[in-house]
Symmetry: C2
Subunit: 293 residues, 2 copies
């Protein structure tokens, strides 16, 4: 098996470098906006979406070099969603990745605009990579569908709209599919589209993405109960405090971990049609269920 830790470290450095280049410098009358964009986007994080994107390219035997701006754009979309999620009107979180969240470090208006600008800029960046135009259109259209009201934003809205008591397992799976799964699927499936993947491969990778996302999100919930806030870089216990319904609160931490393992298994099974070049992809679900931060 390939060394995932080494791979993630490489991707992290490459994404940081891309974001440095792609985000506007802190100059001119809009300097505060650019500073807010850079503050949040360059704050680090695991860069999982770019890593999944690059691992999928590897599964198709494709070099990632020319397409790293696309990977960085996926991280801009992830960052925008975190900035808006943290706003007082949403989750009202003061900390993110061990630092004040964007609206605390700047102000609410700057945080709203920084999110808007990161989302829009991501589309400009994705559409600028050298690729066969028809495949590129398909890849970017998929990202737009899954990041918007056909995926991520829908998941956030469904969570906001549901009273905790009304959330049962099927509803929770639906929320996780949108909140977490959709953006992981963006990363995997956009890479597959750029590589000209066929229907059968796309279906397998879709299943892989959503099961991996479910495993990831369930462990996230468990870590919010059992994890170390210093290691995680954010306050724990927020789900209990906000009475958020999660797998951990619904089933207890052990049973929730069991659910995560079952999803990891399904994700691995979905990859059976691929050859050994997909070994990097195979290492993600295991990482998701064994992580402590």
């Amino acid at each position: 098996m390939p060394d995932l830790k080494q791979f993630l470290a490489e991707i992290e450095a490459e994404v940081q470098q891309q974001l440095e280049l792609l985000l506007p410098p802190e100059e001119g009358p809009e300097a505060r906006l650019y500073a807010a964009m850079r503050y949040s986007a360059l704050a680090g994080g695991k860069r999982l979406r770019p890593a999944l994107f690059a691992a999928t390219l590897a599964a198709f035997g494709q070099s990632r070099t020319a397409w790293m701006p696309f990977a960085a754009a996926l991280e801009m979309i992830h960052t925008y969603s975190l900035i808006h999620d943290d706003l007082p009107a949403m989750d009202n979180d003061d900390f993110r990745r061990g630092r004040p969240s964007c609206h605390r470090a700047f102000d609410e208006a700057s945080a709203i605009l920084a999110g808007d600008a990161l989302l829009t800029h991501a589309f400009a960046v994705m559409l600028s990579v050298p690729a066969e135009p028809e495949r590129l259109c398909r890849a970017v259209a998929l990202v737009a569908r899954l990041a918007g009201c056909g995926g991520m934003v829908a998941g956030q809205a469904a969570e906001l709209a549901s009273s905790p008591e009304s959330i049962d397992r099927p509803r929770l799976d639906e929320i996780y599919r949108g909140k977490t799964g959709a953006l992981l699927a963006c990363a995997v499936l956009s890479a597959a589209h750029l590589c000209g993947a066929g229907e059968r491969e796309l279906a397998a990778l879709e299943l892989y993405s959503y099961q991996s996302g479910r495993a990831f999100q369930i462990i996230d919930d468990v870590l919010d109960v059992q994890g170390d806030s210093a290691l995680l870089g954010k306050n724990t216990g927020s789900d209990v405090k906000n009475k958020t319904r999660t797998y951990a609160s619904l089933l207890g931490c052990y049973a929730a971990r069991a659910e995560a393992l079952l999803s990891a298994e399904k994700a691995l099974q979905a990859l059976e049609i691929f050859d050994t070049r997909s070994d990097l992809l195979r290492s993600f679900p295991e990482f998701f269920v064994s992580r402590d931060h």
Copy 2:
């Protein structure tokens, strides 16, 4: 000259029909999000950006039928910008188009998410129209550039960041270029890209867009001082109340109108390289400077 009033009425009906079809129905756990999106997007308005898009297609002798979803997507982007602009942390406007603004009719979280979803959905819709993929990529990339931190969002940020006293004419022109000009340029130039326009045509249309946008925005400022709030569907006097620096406050209403007329003239001159098929485009600057709402 073609009948602009008739043309605008046609476009208004077609855009309304497209938005009805393209926006998700108010169903499921995300019903409130979809309701907020529909509430703001279907509230009417002049639909100027779709109209400029369609008029540009006409200037190239191109039918608009297959591309009206693209036009509607431009209106989604405009709507998202209004929803976020009206938020308490931004302009804090309670009314829009004669009705409570989105965050008043729903709530702040729904308004933030509805804006995010409209922006993202717009990209999915634009990328779904039948067009030559290379031209489509170019058109959508341009929209992403001009709607984001290379245009509209930059204009909003520059306005927020500038103390009114510090805004002189060059700075004000820069802010108008972003705030209003950029999205009009999106409409005109994306249509031109879809039609395969050359460098010379693109440069002329860019000049046309920004001068038209300047004329439009200056008259907007004048109407905020002299206009009829019932006719406008929003409170007047907000610029004075918020101490916003505008051409009207900088030069007075008469001199501001003169500036708008000069920009309208420049916009018309820019169209000289086009034939009579651009007559619809020619009628916009005149409309912008003579409107009373």
